[in-house]
Symmetry: D2
């Protein structure tokens, strides 16, 4: 067996592995929608800062999220094929939210953002602090890229 | 009573009110320490972005927070005398954290940051997603300004 | 029109209303399954105590939930057509869980238990307390009654 | 060396170890108070069920916790020297709470219950589910036994 052939198998395996790994990379950039209908636009800067905006479909009270119900977001993306991340949004009514989550590749190859969020309302003072934080879950699905 | 005196009382009241309001303003900028000994340095940009860094005193496992246990943070500050905020940190080991909270003025005039945090570990895949988020509480106290 | 007939329409309306209200009642008793495949058997005592057992499909580490992965549960049910509830489970490995949630009737008439849970692991001591609580979401769907 | 002496050292060590372990046992039975002033009375049944009652010092809205602000609790205690536990309370206004936590012995020998709680409000329907869960932290300190 000539040397060139001897090298072929490892190379082929490496390529297969690389393509498989490539397939499993989860890319947070783009437009995502939650089960509640909220829209999340994520952009990643060269130094792994997350920007974009969040358009909520829900409010705790009318007006809490502002007229547009849309806010810029600010966060950070970690490294890895299925990276974790965290980002923040502040709302016109005085409350602030943050999400932590991970971009995960499902068995069918589709990508989801699995997140948990906290929503901090503005307490009048220290005595109302205890009841000011809500928590919940959001799963975001990729929307087709905008033209 | 001459005009200048007639204006003095409202002005005085306004000054008193302003000084009292001023006293109740909670200012997130500066250096804070949690009960666990973590150090939080917060700076606020002109458009209400939070920057700075977070030096943790604890890790879930040795090395999870990186060699320096220190990371930049990115977040947003809301408006108000006792503003809410949210910020994020990513850790060298692959996990990401976010905090939501509020800067509150206590009865003795001291300021605290009352926060809740979530810590998202990197799951190997969707099947490990369920157990990947921890939650807890942090109260931060102001350290004297650095010279 | 004889008196008996005059009373018939309100009575009919009341019956219709009652049956419609009846339809919107969410009944926690029975067997439920989560998206992860965990099985929850709930029984309600005359004084609104929740009993039954919980068979988990997942563990944080092999053995954490015990050999049978099944544990009795103990909790309380609140009043109302779509009642809130809370229940607890302790695991063989030393950890304890609780759920809070609500039995909700969806638009198609099906019933779900929307819950959030916390899982407390046993810390070695106070210094490990901060990292000992996980949080997540579970939605349970009704399984057909067992014969 | 006579046989009785040969056995003395191991016995002594065992006694020392037992007394030290005994000292580190955290006993949840009794009356506890949180930093907010809520009072928790805990009793443990022979099969490790937690009973007692909870008297809250705070409410989300006037009346939410009922006239007495006091409710029975139901939960489970795990095994161990510093056991984890979980318990539930339902409130007159329709909401339900649960706590998970651990009884921990501090460096000075005092005992605390470190807990996190969730409070589930009754949503009008599935569309309000997302905002129905609050979360927070409670640390309980032992009150002297009642005579």
């Amino acid at each position: 067996m000539p040397p060139v052939r001897r090298a072929a198998l490892p190379c082929l395996l490496l390529c297969l592995w690389a393509s498989r790994t490539q397939g499993a990379v989860c890319n947070v950039t783009g437009v995502w929608m939650s089960a509640m209908g909220s829209i999340l636009k994520l952009a990643v800067s060269p130094d792994a800062e997350l920007g974009g905006n969040y358009m909520t479909s829900v409010e705790t009270m009318k007006g809490a999220a502002g007229n547009q119900r849309q806010s810029r977001l600010s966060g950070l993306l970690n490294r890895g094929a299925q990276p974790t991340f965290a980002f923040s949004v502040v709302w016109e009514g005085g409350s602030s939210s943050s999400w932590v989550g991970q971009c995960l590749v499902l068995g069918d190859g589709s990508q989801v953002l699995k997140t948990l969020w906290m929503l901090r309302s503005a307490a009048q003072g220290p005595e109302d602090d205890w009841k000011s934080t809500r928590i919940g879950e959001d799963t975001f699905f990729h929307l087709p890229a905008e033209e």
